[in-house]
Symmetry: C2
Amino acid sequence: MESSVGYAYEAARDRLLPRVEAALQEFLDRRQAAPAHYGMMRYHLGWADESLSPIAAPVGKRLRPLLCLLTTEGCAGDAETALPAAIALELLHNFTLIHDDIEDGDALRHHRPTVWKLWGEPQAINAGDGMHVLAHLALLDLVRHDVPTERVLSLARRLAQTSLVITEGQHLDIAFERREDVTPAEYLDMIGRKSAALIGCAAVMGAEIAGASDDVCTALERFGADLGMGFQIRDDVLGIWGRAETTGKPAGDLRRRKKTLPSLYAFNRSPAEERSVFARLFASSEPDERAVDDVLEMLERHGARHHCEKMVGRYSAAARDRLTALPESSARSALEALVDQLETRDF
Amino acid sequence: MESSVGYAYEAARDRLLPRVEAALQEFLDRRQAAPAHYGMMRYHLGWADESLSPIAAPVGKRLRPLLCLLTTEGCAGDAETALPAAIALELLHNFTLIHDDIEDGDALRHHRPTVWKLWGEPQAINAGDGMHVLAHLALLDLVRHDVPTERVLSLARRLAQTSLVITEGQHLDIAFERREDVTPAEYLDMIGRKSAALIGCAAVMGAEIAGASDDVCTALERFGADLGMGFQIRDDVLGIWGRAETTGKPAGDLRRRKKTLPSLYAFNRSPAEERSVFARLFASSEPDERAVDDVLEMLERHGARHHCEKMVGRYSAAARDRLTALPESSARSALEALVDQLETRDF
C-alpha cells in the first residue's frame, strides 16, 4: 500500500477518523441513566476496559462511516453535515457484531473477550438492542445539521430498510449452518444482505446527504454493494488460505466448520459420490484434521481459490467503474485507493 | 366489567382491534425474502403455528396500539391516520417480549413455546432484531398517511428514544437480579423505563398525530405513564396474591425468585436482622416452600399488599385526572373505562 493511490485513502482516513470518533463519543456521552448499559457499548467500541474505565485501545477501522463521509465529499458536500449518518452506520454495524458474537458463541473479538463473555448473554443481547436503536436515533440528528426534513426521512427509511435486510441475511446465515445443499448463488444472496447492503447504504447515504442526483446515488449504492461483496469474498479467501502465510495454521474457516464461498463452490462442482468429503467435515462437532485436509484437496482440485479471487477482482473492477459517476476529486481518489486496498489486503 | 363504563372500552376495542390486526398483517406481508424469518414473527404474534401454517389463535390484547388510536380520536383525529404508529408500538412491544423470553430463559408465553424454545437462541435473537427495526420502519409510513414530515420526524425520535429507555429499564431489571439491596424507588424507576415509558409513548403519539397542543400532549404522556405504572404494580400484586384465588398455587413470583415491589417494600422496611429471610429465598436456585412461606409472612407483617394496592389506586387516580385534559367524547370514556379495568383486573 505504498503507492500514491494507497496514500490517498490513508490521508483521508487520518483526517476524518478523529471526527467520527469524537462524534460517536459525544453521542454516547449524552446518556445519563444505566451507566453500565452504555459502559458495555463503550467497551465493545474499544473505549473502555473490562471494569469500564476509559482506555485508549486501538479502535476498529470505521470503514462504513469513512465511506459515507468520502462519498459526501465526492458529491461536493461537507463531511461535517454527514457526521450523524456516519456514526449511525458505525453503531448499526457494531450492534450486529455484539449479537453475532452471541449467536455464533464467539468468546473473542480482536483478541478481547466479547460482551456476552464478560457480562452474560442477557445483558449482551440488551446492550446490542440499545446500540441498534442508538443507530436509528443518531441518524435523526441530521435535522440539526440542516439536512432538509424530507431527506432525513428518506435516509431514516433507508437505514431501517438496510437494518431489516441485515437480519434477513443473518437469518439465512444461521439457517445455512444446518443445510448441506447451499448453492453459491444462495450464499452470494446471503452475504449481499448480511454484509454488502450496509456498505452500499453507507456509500449512497453520503451522496443523498450531499443532494446528488438519483443517477449518482444509484451508482454509489452499487459501488458500495460491489465493494462489500468483494470485501466479503476476500474475507472468505483469507479465512482459508490467509492465515497459512502469517500463522502457519491454515484453513481457519474449515476448522470452525464455517461454510463459505470456496467450499460451497467446490461442493457444488463435485460429483455426488465425492460430496461426502464435505459432509464429513461440516457435520462434525470437532475439527478433524483429516477431514480438513480432504476438503482442502477438493478446493484445490476445483480451483476454488482462483475462482473466488477472480470474483473479488470482478467486484472490485465493477466498484471502480461505478466511481466514474463522480467527478475527479481527492475524495474519489481516496475511494479508488480503498477499492485497491480491500482487493489485495491479506489481513 | 359489566358497568357501562367497562362497555365503553370493549366497544372501542371491538371496533379498532380488527383494523390494527389487518394493518399489522398487511405490513408483515410486504416482506419477501427469508420467509421463515418473518414466519417466526408471525408465530409470536399468534398468526401461525409451529410449522408456520396460518392459524386463528387468540391474539394479544394489543393495549398499546388501542391506546394510541383512542388518544388520536380523543384529540379529534382520525384513527386511520394513526395506524402506522399503532402497529409500530405493537411491534416494538413484541420485539421486547421475544428478547425478554431469551434473557429470562422462559420456555412458555401464553401457554405456547417461546420463539427461542422452538428455533434456538440465535434465530430468536435475530427475529427480535428484525421485529425491532420493523417497528421503526412502520412508523415512517405515517408520511403516507399525510402526517406532516416534521411531525413524523418528531414521532420517529420519540419512538426511538422510548425504545432506548426500555433497554435501560431492561438493563436495570437484569442487574437487580444480582443485588440484594434494591430500593422501592430504584424499582419504580426501572419499571418506569421498562414498562410505563412505552405506554406513555403510545398515549402521547395519538395526541401528537392529531395535532394536539403541547399541554394536551404532556397530559396524555403522563396519563399513559401513570396507567403503565399502575398496570405493572397491579401485575406485581397478582404475581404474588393473584393466582392463589384462581389456581390455588400462590406466590408465583416468589417461587420464581422474582423481586417485585411487594417484596422490595417489605425488605426495605425490615430491620437488618430479619432480612436474611429474603436472602434465603432470592439467593436460592430452586424454589423452597419454607422460604416462600417465610417471605409471605414478612409481606403480611409489613402490609406490602395493602401498600401496593394503594399505589395502584393512586396511579389510576392520577391517570384519570390527566384525562380531563381531553374534551368529553366516547374515546375519552373508553380510556377512563380502561383505567378502571386495569386497576381492578385479576388476571
